[in-house]
């Protein structure tokens, strides 16, 4: 399958007061045509930063792209002039954000906000833009589109707001849609509907998608392949089935164990002890060592490499590599 996006060695560093935080520290990623790739990990592990770096939504006043490239259609997105980047954003790569209410501008109607992206990237006339807006509203399953287009964001429910945002992302038939925790702010019942919508868009229109989430359940339901991130690096990568059947990295195992199950009769829910530490550059140790049940001296003295052990499968752990797969 053809690769639509190839990220190599992406490094995005935040410059805090006295130190440099390597939010993303050398991530390789390939997105193939029509696939749904999951990026999973806890808050603060760098998954959103990967997406934001690619699409150029990072605040350059304190964030630095310290290395790497993101090749899309022969161009390196990380070093594209802003004018060129604006031409790609919204038309060929679009994004769906986490919080639908705050992601819509409160003072403009839904129609205004959907049509804006069409006005920028297409030369459709007014009537054609209106017709396209109606069509998009129907595609994302908003009933009575004519009336809803005249509404302001606060007049819609959270689920409808997220559908409107998805309509905006779909408007120009992009090749890639990046969804950054698209259901985190929604009710569980609405979550399922939105996920179904995202899945059907992926299947019907063959759009390549990156789904960023901290929820392993969503990954299992939605994604073809998964990349597990921790501390700004990829710790394990592979097809969803393989990751769920035989997780290699202790962190991945922890995440899987943390999915609550009705079948288990345990009273307490499992959680990985500790929180994601804030790393300072340079990091010369296994980033997960402090929370890992198997860590030893080696883990805190040098950083393991990401080792590929089968097609599409790789893991970053001394122990797994030594003990064999």
């Amino acid at each position: 399958m053809e690769n639509v996006l190839t990220i190599k060695g992406l490094k995005t560093y935040y410059h805090a007061k006295n130190r440099v935080v390597p939010a993303v520290d050398g991530v390789d990623l390939v997105l193939r045509k029509g696939e749904m790739l999951g990026i999973v990990g806890e808050s603060g592990c760098g998954k959103s930063t990967v997406a934001r770096s690619v699409i150029g939504l990072i605040d350059r006043s304190y964030t630095e792209i310290a290395g790497g490239c993101a090749m899309f259609d022969g161009q390196d997105l990380l070093h594209l002039p802003s004018r060129e980047m604006n031409r790609i954003r919204g038309s060929r790569i679009s994004m769906v954000f986490q919080n639908p209410l705050t992601s819509l501008n409160p003072v403009y109607t839904i129609e205004n906000q959907i049509s804006e992206v069409l006005r920028i990237h297409t030369d459709l006339d007014k009537a054609a833009i209106h017709a396209r807006c109606i069509e998009l509203m129907e595609m994302v399953g908003i009933p009575d589109p004519e009336a809803r287009l005249k509404d302001y964001p606060h007049q819609l429910s959270g689920g409808m707001q997220q559908r409107a945002l998805i309509a905006i992302a779909l408007a120009c038939n992009p090749e890639i849609i990046i969804a950054d925790e698209p259901t985190t702010a929604l009710d569980v019942t609405i979550q399922a509907q939105i996920l179904q919508l995202i899945r059907s868009i992926n299947k019907e229109y063959g759009m390549s998608m990156i789904l960023i989430t901290h929820n392993m359940g969503i990954v299992a339901q939605m994604c073809d392949r998964v990349m597990v991130m921790y501390g700004g690096v990829c710790v394990e990568e592979g097809p969803t089935e393989r990751i769920f059947d035989s997780p290699m990295h202790p962190y991945t195992r922890g995440l899987l164990k943390a999915i609550p199950s009705i079948a288990s009769d345990k009273e307490d829910l499992f959680s990985i002890p500790g929180t994601v530490p804030r790393f300072s550059y340079p990091v010369a140790r296994c980033r997960f060592a402090d929370r890992c049940p198997y860590s030893n001296k080696e883990c805190s003295e040098s950083e393991p490499e990401l080792i590929s052990f089968a097609e599409d499968c790789s893991v970053r752990c001394f122990r797994t590599i030594k003990e064999g797969i």
Partner: protein, 306 residues
Amino acid sequence: MLKYALKRIIKALITIFFILTLVFFFTRMSGDPTNWILPDDATEEQRIEMRHSLGLDRPLHEQYFEVMTSLFTGNAGRSYNYLRPVSELYAERMGATIRLGLISFSLAALVGVSLGTIAAVKRNSFFDRFTIMISIAGSTLPNFVLGILLVFLFCFVLRLLPSGGASSASSYIMPVIAMAVGPMANIARLTRTSLLDVLRQDYLDSARAKGVSEHVVLIKHALRNALIPVITVIGLQVGTLVGGSVVVETVFSWPGIGSLLINGAKMRDYPIVIYGVMLISVAVTVMNTLVDLSYSFLDPRIRDNA
């Protein structure tokens, strides 16, 4: 919406009514106008005669009733000193005040919003710090002090500008600065704060993700939201500006309604004082009502609740 507007207008009328009532009683308590109308050596008979001809010897409630009805029917009486209808006197001088007010107001709004916007976008820069400093100085310095300082500097030391009057374009410079600096400082400060808050909002990133260029993000998406609270303050500054005009016109001998009102008050010219206060309070309440109503046009979230 219509009901809300109607409610606001009725409230405004009640406010004006109370202000006029207060001013009526204050003027009657302020002293005998005949001291200023008649020469110092006038006899007591002449004074009684004068009070009678002005209707000031009638019972207070009769006077009050007459003044109020005449104001609301448009006939506001004659000035004791100028011996002409006060509405005429004010009409003649209204133009000068409105010109001065409009110029100062536009300058304050334009410069204030621009300074605040640049300061917010270039946060923590030298320009930002400079703007904060200027706006604190500007909003704490009373306009008459600023006016006197300006006269001292530009008129007596540098001899560049006329000290008063409205004879040429250059005579506008100092009064406009004296009136505009305070409101401008407040507008700049609020624009900065409000915009800094909006610049953190998620919807700006959604706009960027749509491919909207950075200056359109700033103007269409950020400023449109940031200016909602600023518009209120701009509206309320009109009140400050009208009040300020009374003082500034006196400092610069500006031939407007402010100086007429002050002179009227000095000479206990009751009709002038009452009519002047009415004009100013109508202007301020109309402006406040407009600001209130404009809210719902600016912010669709308020439209539904109103």
